[in-house]
Subunit: 201 residues, 2 copies
């Protein structure tokens, strides 16, 4: 009944990394729906069985691969002006979404989210954390008096990012810095006007 001894040694972590790397690569090339475990194994120079022994399903494998790639939390900018800060954030989001890895990651998350409630919850937590990491930008604007007290920081950040994700996922329109700037400006203007004050009518 005792747990088998773990072996964090050289070979294990080596194959783990190469499999996760191969998963990301296949994700970029074929997307989540058409991702094949056999193809991942071949690309990683590993046998299919090895993948299944370590990850119980395709979903878990992809989830692990995404988690290993998404550890980088971008630092919140601080220019002293809300719109400038939002503009920088919006541009970094555009950079993420126009990068093949980032695009594949987001698409995979969206595709997978409807599969299982557990995965859906995991992703909700992930995005909540991501939004929270951008919130300081709004908090500082609030303490400067740039936006009214009671302004919901997460809502401002979402208003800034939402049009960018809409273009990528829904309308299939191209993304560039101009779109980012416009989106940032709209969010900043609305925030200053008090559109994101909690409980406002």
């Amino acid at each position: 009944m005792s747990e088998p001894e773990r072996r964090p040694g050289g070979r294990t972590s080596r194959t783990t990394h190469s499999v996760l790397e191969a998963t990301l690569a296949e994700l970029i090339d074929h997307g989540y729906v058409e991702l094949g475990v056999e193809a991942v194994a071949a690309r990683a120079g590993v046998h299919k069985t090895t993948v299944y022994r370590r990850w119980e399903s395709k979903q878990r494998l992809v989830l692990d691969a995404l988690r290993s790639a998404a550890a980088d939390a971008l630092p919140a900018p601080d220019t002293g002006d809300l719109e400038s800060d939002l503009r920088l954030l919006a541009r970094s989001v555009v950079e993420l979404l126009t990068n093949p890895v980032g695009e594949a990651a987001v698409r995979a998350m969206v595709s997978a989210s409807s599969s299982s409630p557990e995965l859906s919850a995991t992703l909700r937590d992930y995005w909540a954390a991501r939004m929270a990491s951008m919130s300081p930008v709004v908090d500082r604007a609030r303490s400067r008096g740039e936006v009214p007290a009671g302004t919901d920081a997460a809502e401002v950040v979402k208003a800034m990012g939402a049009p960018l994700y809409l273009r990528l996922l829904v309308t299939a329109e191209p993304l560039d810095d101009e779109v980012a700037d416009r989106s940032a400006r709209a969010a900043a203007v609305a925030a200053r006007a008090g559109a994101f004050v909690a409980g406002a009518g």
Copy 2:
């Protein structure tokens, strides 16, 4: 070499309709990824072969089903006030996205859009038309002087809808009228402030 004679008669259109209807139903129950052609055929009371004879692939089938269901263009409201109009639109979008058929349709489109460039183009056209059908709301506001000349109507509409789609697809947060109202208010405020004037810095 001559085309086989088309037969728009009773049986053909009958099976076509039942298959498309069954496709929508299966789409609601299982989503695009796990949609099975055999299940669709069974549900439609039709043999699998029949489906494949008429639709060359699963993608095409789903695309056709969605097109047949999405013909309904919601009429643009006209209350005499931009924010009120946007609020009504936003609420109808929420209604669409919380409806099982609507949610399944949107998710299917998103999942499918990354598969083929042709499908992606089709969807781009579809969404462009949908945005355009809502544009009169902004046009009227412009002629009332409520928003500056040069305001991009499609961008306003997108700003109104984007947070709703973000919640459904990305952050997996619940949708309700409160969210709709807030989103409409933010878009209206930003539009009035001239944030969507083309070429504005």
